[in-house]
């Protein structure tokens, strides 16, 4: 089980990077550059709240998993 936890950690890091690309280039920037007021607020939240949360949060979680922080023997 520990091996699976560590291997999946790589997936979470990749997912964090992929989600960041999606949040910035597909969601955030287009919304931020749109003329709509609602889109502007939505873009700000995506870029400055959700994206850092995913990059730092899921990325750190993945890193911790890779280095075995969540392995059973360490609890």
């Amino acid at each position: 089980m520990n091996k699976i936890k560590q291997a999946l950690g790589v997936l979470w890091v990749i997912l964090a990077i992929a989600a960041t690309y999606f949040c910035v280039f597909e969601f955030g920037l287009p919304k931020l550059l749109s003329d709509q007021q609602d889109d502007l607020v939505f873009g700000i939240i995506i870029l400055f709240i959700l994206t850092p949360l995913i990059v730092l949060g899921l990325g750190t979680f993945g890193y911790f998993a890779v280095i075995g922080e969540y392995n059973n023997k360490k609890k």
Partner: protein
């Protein structure tokens, strides 16, 4: 660490649950009355006011709640649970009451939307601090092996708060004419809050501090810097992240889908009459609420993890079939029209706008009214459809929403116990509040906006079932959370600190 009698814990539950329920009530009436509020404070033809309106909706729901969790969580870990969640109660109640007192935009201009925004932000801050305090307070009173059951009472409060907000609004509408409600009656649900808050404050005031926290305080083992110990300490941080990505993130999207997305879907996609939606949602919530207690109790017997994960798995598997069935109940393409009953009327208003109404009745009792307004001076038109469903379809929808509420109760019923058991007394309030409000406020709260994005893209691409594409967001988030929860979360919770 059982230390409170059954009679004593009922007092704790009553005091905590009532206050938390009122806070949810306060938070929801703003959303439920958003349409009338926008006409009073945020005129749509004024872009700055419209911008403030969006901020009031988004900022309070998403951004401010985690800050409230940090601010009040820190206070709760330093000065105590009781005084902190009394402060959040007063802050929330006072803000809600004052929103109901603000003169309209017509009377005081820009000050009106600005005051509403400030009070709405204070509401978000208070909500961010309340939940963690109430859950921690109850868990620290609860006997060993029964924390899931007792904290599940706190878990009912969000749904009960939503239910009561719908009922108070429906009751106010029923005793007032629509003109009176639109003129001043919409303020009544805000004013009602201050009475409930007053009663709840008096009850909470006479409660004792949590015995676990009081003991820690006496022994001098409380934290002096809960923020640093919660998030600067690697050992604790990894559990904060696990709580977020392995539990609250999925719980947040399941919770929002089962209640708010379902409501919005019925009103805006299926075009069902708003009052009919409120009523059937109210019934589904009423039927589903006891299951928070059932699953909280069950989590004491079989563990928190598998109940929460099963709720997420069922949501992932059944959301699309459920919403497909919901959509089909009002799809008039599958109904037989009574041709003789169809009426059409044209009305020309004083400003030369022309309103064309077409009313259709179907053999199963469904009625369909389409109104098209041609604006004379703007050279454009606007259409709206309102469908009144028959009693059979109403019960079908109640059942389908009830199923979604069941998923909510599975993921949400045991989660308070799951979170409080994860962290030590001295930083519990701070550590559990943040992942909860990030999961709910950010991942859950963004659901309407992101789902709308998916639906719009699917519609533009010409997909026939475009209305189901909004579900990809909760399905993807819940799937990631399900895998993380299944692999990394321990069902026996070896890190139980209570």
């Amino acid at each position: 660490m059982g230390k409170t009698s059954t009679k004593g814990i009922w007092k704790v539950i009553s005091a905590s649950s009532m206050g938390t329920m009122i806070e949810w009530y306060d938070f929801y009436i703003f959303g439920s009355l958003a349409v009338v509020i926008s006409t009073k404070f945020f005129p749509s033809d004024n872009p700055t006011a419209a911008f403030l309106s969006t901020l009031a909706t988004f900022a309070a729901g998403f951004v401010v709640r985690p800050f409230g969790a940090l601010f009040f969580g820190r206070l709760g870990d330093i000065i105590g649970r009781k005084y902190t969640f009394m402060a959040t109660l007063l802050l929330m109640g006072g803000s809600t009451f004052l929103i109901g007192c603000i003169p309209s935009y017509e009377t005081i201009g820009f000050l009106a939307p600005l005051l509403v925004l400030i009070l709405r932000l204070l509401q978000g801050l208070a909500l961010g601090g309340e939940y963690g305090g109430a859950a921690t307070y109850v868990a620290e009173h609860a006997p060993v092996g029964q924390k899931g059951y007792w904290t599940s009472w706190i878990q009912t409060t969000a749904t009960v708060g939503l239910f009561i907000s719908l009922m108070v609004i429906l009751a106010t509408k029923s005793v007032l004419s629509s003109e009176s409600f639109d003129s001043w009656g919409w303020r009544v649900p805000f004013w009602v809050s201050i009475v409930m808050v007053g009663i709840s404050y008096l009850i909470r005031k006479n409660m004792d501090e949590s015995p676990v926290f009081a003991k820690a305080k006496k022994e001098g083992t409380t934290s002096t810097n809960p923020l640093k110990e919660s998030f600067g300490n690697r050992y604790n941080l990894k559990f904060v992240l696990l709580a977020l990505f392995g539990a609250t993130m999925g719980q947040g999207v399941v919770w929002y889908t089962g209640q708010f997305y379902a409501m919005s879907f019925m009103k805006t996609v299926m075009n069902i009459d708003s009052s009919q939606v409120d009523s059937l949602l109210g019934i589904a919530l009423l039927l589903g609420t006891p299951f928070f207690i059932v699953f909280g109790w069950l989590s004491d017997k079989v563990g928190r993890k598998y109940i929460m994960m099963l709720g997420m798995l069922l949501a992932i598997l059944f959301y699309r079939p459920i919403y497909k069935m919901m959509y089909n109940t009002t799809d008039v393409n599958y109904k037989t029209e009574i041709v003789d009953a169809t009426t059409q009327s044209v009305e020309k208003l004083k400003n030369n706008d022309i309103i064309t109404s077409i009313s259709k009745t179907y053999t199963d009792g469904t009625t369909y009214v389409e109104k098209k307004t041609d604006f004379a001076n703007k050279k454009k038109s606007q259409s709206s459809v309102i469908i009144n469903i028959n009693s059979g379809d109403e019960w079908t929808l109640i059942f389908l929403v009830f199923i979604q509420v069941l998923f909510v109760t599975m993921v949400y019923g045991p989660i308070a116990a799951f979170l409080v058991e994860m962290f030590p007394t001295k930083i519990r309030y701070t550590s559990m509040s943040l992942p909860y409000h990030v999961g709910n406020g950010i991942f859950g709260g963004l659901l309407p906006a992101i789902s709308t994005y998916f639906v719009t893209h699917a519609k533009a691409a010409g997909k026939s079932d475009f209305y189901l594409d909004g579900l990809w967001y909760p399905i993807i988030i819940a799937s990631i959370c399900f895998v993380i929860g299944m692999v990394y979360v321990d069902n026996k919770n070896k890190i139980n600190h209570l």
